[in-house]
């Protein structure tokens, strides 16, 4: 198993780049170029890994079905790892997660994060801000087009390049996710071994990287793109035989979608916790939770989407994937039917 391929998670987009070696452009707000903004984001991604820092971060999510918030103690020690501790709330039992950052990250995917963001969005530095008493550049991400709403904002520490705050919004300008340091200290932090022991290990991706061409030849649906510009970044295969599952990861640099595919027929009689719904005119089953979850059957496969993205992105995605199960040909149907009727009449069957 390997660490996740994306260093860009939802809203993060900035990822493990080895871009500009640390120099934050000293542009005045509103006058920085697109390249300056991308360099700022690249520096921020590097700072997250290379700096030692600790603090408290507020994280919130909103969706049609409700919201969720948590206060998280963040403790990162350069060269050691990242500890996240969540205080228990009525919505969340709390706990701790530790990542020793030894995970293997496919380079092409990591670099693809910022490339995707640059390909799908306009980026600029628009204004100054302050977070937890620290001066910050505000990097704004928009869909191309003069009238497009803001898709995300990042507050990057002017002194250290550490990302201090971020917001991700939907196409109507509503906030989907927000995270911000309430207090932060850079250059300090420690993760005692005793704490690491009790913390949960950061989850690992299951399955092995797969050959896309071979999967397609074997009848699996593996689109290069889904929805409105989500590009295929990674495909993994887990299990064998009827238990085989494909995990495809798509992103546009800001939103990230996991698409799972299994061969077979959706067992609609045993979908506890799911409710039937219609998305993009198609019959699906959904769970009202975060990340968003949608499942449906199409062309002999069952598709499950887990995504941190706006509802409109989900609808675009559902629309572009197969739906319904076309039956076999007439001869096959007749043969299947006779065999089945025969099994009814056979008392020994």
């Amino acid at each position: 198993m390997r660490r996740g391929p994306l260093l860009l998670a939802t809203g993060g987009a900035v990822v493990l780049l080895h871009a500009s070696a640390g120099a934050v452009p000293a542009q005045q707000a509103g006058h920085a170029s697109r390249e300056d903004a991308l360099a700022l984001l690249a520096d921020a991604a590097r700072a997250v890994r290379e700096l030692t820092y600790s603090g408290t971060q507020m994280v919130s999510f909103w969706s049609e079905s409700g919201s969720s918030s948590a206060l998280i103690d963040v403790n990162h020690v350069r060269g050691q790892g990242l500890l996240l501790r969540v205080a228990p709330t009525p919505q969340n039992p709390g706990g701790a997660v530790y990542d020793d950052e030894s995970g293997d990250v496919p380079q092409v995917v990591g670099i693809g994060g910022l490339d995707l963001l640059a390909a799908h969005y306009d980026v600029g530095v628009e204004g100054d801000g302050e977070v937890a008493g620290r001066a910050a550049y505000v990097v704004v991400v928009r869909r191309p087009g003069a009238t497009a709403n803001v898709s995300a904002r990042f507050w990057i520490d002017r002194r250290t390049s550490l990302p201090l705050r971020r917001e991700v919004l939907d196409d109507e300008g509503r906030t989907l996710r927000e995270s911000a340091f309430i207090d932060v200290e850079v250059g300090e932090g420690d993760v005692p071994p005793s704490v690491r022991k009790v913390a949960t290990t950061m989850p690992l991706m299951r399955g092995a990287p797969a050959d896309v061409a071979a999967l397609r030849a074997a009848g699996w649906e593996v689109p290069d793109r889904v929805g409105n510009g989500l590009e295929l970044l990674d495909v993994r295969v887990d299990g064998t035989g009827d238990e085989t599952t494909l995990h495809m990861t798509y992103s546009d640099g800001l939103a990230t979608v996991s698409l799972f595919e299994q061969k077979g027929v959706l067992d609609t009689k045993n979908l506890d916790g799911w409710r039937r719904d219609e998305v993009a005119g198609e019959r699906v089953w959904v769970q009202d939770a975060f990340p968003r979850r949608v499942v449906w059957a199409g062309r002999g496969s069952v598709f499950t989407v887990v995504a941190d993205c706006p509802q409109a992105t989900i609808e675009d995605l559902v629309r572009t994937l197969p739906h319904g199960t076309p039956g076999p040909g007439m001869t096959t149907r007749l043969g299947n039917g006779l065999a089945r009727v025969g099994s009814w009449l056979n008392p020994f069957a």
């Binding site: 998670a9 993060g12 900035v14 948590a70 995990h247 979850r293 039917g337």
Partner: protein, 162 residues
């Protein structure tokens, strides 16, 4: 009693005739080999259907079938019985022609084949119930690699620690 039972053969096999009508029909088939064969065929078909286990009908299909009945305003069971009784008291029908019998058997054959094709057209493959909890963890692992910028706090912690 007429020369042949005609459609009453089915009513006799279904035991839908009153005592008098039933006695008359039974008297007829004692002397009519064609009608006796037809009643026997009806009984065998009925027994065959009665011995089958009830197929599992999805709620969706059942709903649509009920909708069809409502929309079509089809006759209720008593309506059918009344119509058959009326036919019994009606003037004797003409003997069934070969063409009529052929049409009946053809209709039965088409219905049977239609049923076979419908059964054979059902989607095939293993039943899948997605393990969504594992999927959410996989998704979190995909997106939760880096520090706060990449939202491990939200995606990993909130999704993993349940």
């Amino acid at each position: 009693m007429s020369d042949h039972l005609g459609d009453l053969a089915a009513a006799l096999a279904d035991n839908e005739l009153c005592h008098d009508q039933r006695d008359r029909a039974l008297s007829h088939i004692t002397g009519c080999g064609d009608c006796r064969a037809e009643v026997d065929a009806q009984r065998r078909l009925k027994a065959l259907l009665a011995n089958q286990a009830d197929p599992e009908v999805s709620g969706d299909l059942m709903g649509r079938l009920l909708d069809v009945a409502v929309v079509a305003g089809g006759p209720s069971h008593p309506d059918v019985v009344r119509r058959r009784r009326k036919m019994l008291s009606a003037p004797p029908s003409r003997p069934r022609s070969f063409r009529s019998k052929a049409a009946t058997y053809s209709a039965l054959g088409v219905a049977f084949l239609g049923g076979v094709v419908a059964v054979g057209g059902e989607a095939d493959g293993p039943k899948v119930r997605p393990p969504v909890t594992a999927y959410v963890e996989d998704h979190s692992a995909t997106t939760g690699q880096l520090g706060p910028l990449h939202d491990p706090a939200g995606n990993v912690v909130l999704a993993t620690l349940r």
